[in-house]
Amino acid sequence: MTTSAMDHSHLIFSALFPVPSLSHTTPTPSATADLGFAQPGEPFEGSFVNNPAGQHRTARRNIAWSTATGFLALPKTTSDSDGGFRVHRPLKTQEVEEALRYLLVGEGKSGDAEGVKQEGLLEWYRDEVRLHFAGAVRPVVTELWEKPVSLQHAWDVLEETQRILQQDQDQCLRPFVEHIAPILTQSSFSSSMTFNANDDSQNGPEALYEQMQRDIHALFAYSIPERRFSQTLGYVLYDAGCNLFRLYIRQGKTSETGASEDTRAIRVRMTNLLQNLARVGLGGDTAQKACAHAMDKLMASFIESHFLKVDWYSKQSIVSQLQTWVENGFAPLVHLAMECLQCDLTDQETSELQQWQDMALGRLGRARVDNLFDFVINWAKSLGGILDIKEYLKLPDAKQYLVTHFSKQISRRLLHPGATTTYILNVYISVIRVFHELEPKGVLLERVARPIRRYLRERSDTARIIISSLLTDINDAQDTKFGPGSELSREIAREMQKPMTNLNQDADEDLNWNDMNWQPLPSDASLDYKKSKMDDVIWFLLTLWDRDDFITEMKTIFGEHLLKCQDPEYEKEIRLLELIKIRLGDDKLQACEVMLRDILDSKRINAAIRTNLTTVPPSTPNNPPPHTPPNFGPKTPQLRQTRSSTKHRTPAPTSVPGAAKPEITLSAQILSSNFWPTLRDDIFKIPTPISELQASYARQFEAIRGMRKLDWIPALGDTSVVLELEDRTVEVNATTFQASIIYAFQAQPGEEWAGSKGKGKSKSKAQGITRNVEQLEEMLQMDEGLVRQGLAFWVGKSVLRESHQDTFAVIENLSTLSSSNADDAAAAQEMAEAQAQAAASTVKSQTDLLKEKKGLYSQFIVGMLTNQGNMPIMKIGMMLKIAVPGGFPYGGEELKGLLGWMIEEGRLADLGGGVYGVRKA
């Protein structure tokens, strides 16, 4: 009982896991009588003792077995080093034939008659093949594959492998085909008896053959390292593809010549290799995967080499070319390879071309997106590349990819402190244009532009640049104004030139049923996304801020611009104001309107008053008589036109008071102070002739405008100054304070100091009148800083020179100027220009405002520290931001300065550790 149970389980085990070393027999030498075999695990004597009936059959079977196996045996070792081997098969004798027949279809087919399973010949042969392979073929193959295959030898290795395996396969299958199959075929024809159910041969010799072949292929497949094989095959296919598509990207190996023969040869070679590999069973999944990899890589390389060139000239998309290539070049190649590998092509035939085209487009698009920032910078020329991306965006996920990558590029290449605001603005404008082309609905733009807009909002000079650029006339501005470091953006100015568009769009275009070009919003638009009504660039710029913030900023800059503007008609300003009114609504822009009206009224009323005054010469303020009044000294600043801004409640006209100096004309701009931003109001004494003019102007004004009082702002305005020096005449446009300073160098009658120095040219020719900084401060009651600025200006004009420290003299004669003075002049000019920039601002800068509001802020600080006790500087700053109406727009440094000043004033005490407290009286 135990024995049979053991047998049974053993049989199951060995059916599942054949163990060749145990179950396989070598052909018995024919001379030796074999008494049979005991199955492993079976009592050795069992087959003899327990089966006396089978004794005869066993003997006969053993003999037949011996004959057949001897005949069918395959060599077990490699016969020579190159892996080639020949089997010298003995002739097939009658005896062999009979033995085979006996073992295959006769009684000796299998020894199961007595319930003991004996090995069938077919199984034996299968094992034989296995052993043969392990012994004779595998070492050769292993040798080929045990090291990584170098690229140069990839073709050879594959072909060699294929050849060896093919040979082996032929060798192993031939006996089966020639000797075993015919007998089986005969038998299946002659009798309807089915083969033993234990065998897998019930389907006839074809099935057996196939199974045999499958076994062999499995052997082959496992003998070769799969990964390495797939890599090598992949490379080979890739290499073939490169050659076929004339891609010369392999290192060192270029074979441009004879390409046509090459390609044909390579095509044949590749086809053969693939077909043969398929024949030895290496064309399965592994090979197909390798093929897919190779084709994928091939596509990448091809796109890289052929389609990455943007069409800069005709600005066309190259996507259609790419599609054509995929359809006519790539797809046939893939089909060829697949056919060779005997893949089943039918099921995906229809859609796969589209898939490949999408894959190719995806690759191209991603490559394009990686360069999108460059395309943006070179916008208009880069239209071709942009159109490619537009095609790419039709693919799923493309938008996400684009947004992510473009945002990365932007933050890396644009939004850093090294980029000037002007540059960022220009790029932003290009971004707007590019994305308008990419997706007119603007959903993408909204996404990618968000970080740029946020960043631009943080920059303090953005609004100024935008508005001043809007006010710049691109036609008369020199190129230098738009230089890289400039504060003006040419793009914005150019946008301004464009006619206004889209201004009378329908309220809701979704309800416009007649719009045949209507398209739904892209699927990635958020639910409440609403495309802006106006999609021109300026709209985007104007919406960078909250409306109110922008208007506040706008007021400041607009006012400054109006005061500086030379255009008598104020055409651009009117246009800009209208433009902004349309966009931002006109209710908030009263102040700007009032400013503009002030200026226009001033102009008109200036003219009106001028005609009232008969003493005024007919010439306009712009063309004053150039000569000097005779009672002025040799170096007389002649104030030709003064545009003084007047601070007053109402706009009113002014004219030139002609009483004292009819040659000097004075035009005033009357500003309604409530509506203007805080203006500079440095106080200093203006030259007497001018102040006389002002007084007379004010009288006129009061007469016309119902006794309204004028409040002069001497710091604003500009003058034309004509200086008549000994050897030359200098004509300069200067600001009022500069003019006042040079007027102060006028010899003053009754001034002892001037007298002793010599009045004018008569006494001291080489040495002009000198003044030092202190004297000037006193004479003009001007701030020292302003005095120095003015002096630097004149030194730069070679009118003054610094004779001693802080003492300046008029250069009456240029010939007296040494070269070092000239250098000084140049240096001073630079300095003056730099300072002029700061000084030119008519509206107060934040720093100026800090100085001005110092008193108020310090009051807050005292109040805070008195009531809340001592505080660290951080908290002081925080509380100031909260408590001061309008906020405290300064950082820690400014606050420190302020606190330091208060300590000097004796109001605060620094308690150490950044803590401040009120000083006790």
Partner: protein, 159 residues
């Protein structure tokens, strides 16, 4: 002011208080100041100096002011933080002053309240004292009163 009266939202209180703060800063007084404690502006600390020629001369007093969302319709709650000996102020700092109670009007503001308190120091209303002993001493023994004032007073640093 009219809109403030009709609208009692916190935003308007904050606006009103901010404006009062600004007014006080623009016309600063050396003897009375006030400043908000934090960003919501409803809690303030005020500092007043004792009026000269009174027992409180030279002394500094801290007060807390709390503004309800209904301010200025309702008076602020004002307490002396500095201990004070005064006929109309109890030992917890509570003040008996008609304009902080039934006589309050929306035209008063922080400055006027502080000014009233300052004058209360010099002219206590002895007819309705919170601190009867003080009221008594004020009338009868100024020296003892002065002594008690100084004894009770603490400088802000001591608090």
């Amino acid at each position: 002011m009219a809109s403030n009266l009709s609208n009692t939202r916190t935003g308007n209180v904050a606006q009103r208080l901010q404006k009062e703060l600004m007014d006080m800063m623009l016309s600063p007084s050396t003897t009375l100041t006030a400043f908000p404690d934090d960003e919501n502006l409803t809690l303030w600390t005020a500092t007043i100096e004792g009026p000269t020629e009174t027992p409180y001369a030279g002394l500094t007093f801290k007060l807390s002011m709390e503004f309800a969302p209904t301010y200025p319709m309702t008076p602020p709650v004002v307490l002396f933080k500095t201990p004070i000996y005064h006929p109309n102020i109890d030992f917890s700092g509570r003040i008996c002053l008609d304009i902080l109670k039934d006589k309050w009007s929306a035209i008063y503001n922080i400055s006027s309240v502080l000014l009233s308190l300052q004058s209360l120091l010099g002219e206590p209303n002895n007819s309705s004292p919170l601190n009867a002993e003080a009221a008594d001493l004020w009338d009868k023994d100024k020296e003892e009163f002065q002594r008690k004032v100084l004894a009770r007073h603490k400088t802000p640093e001591e608090l």
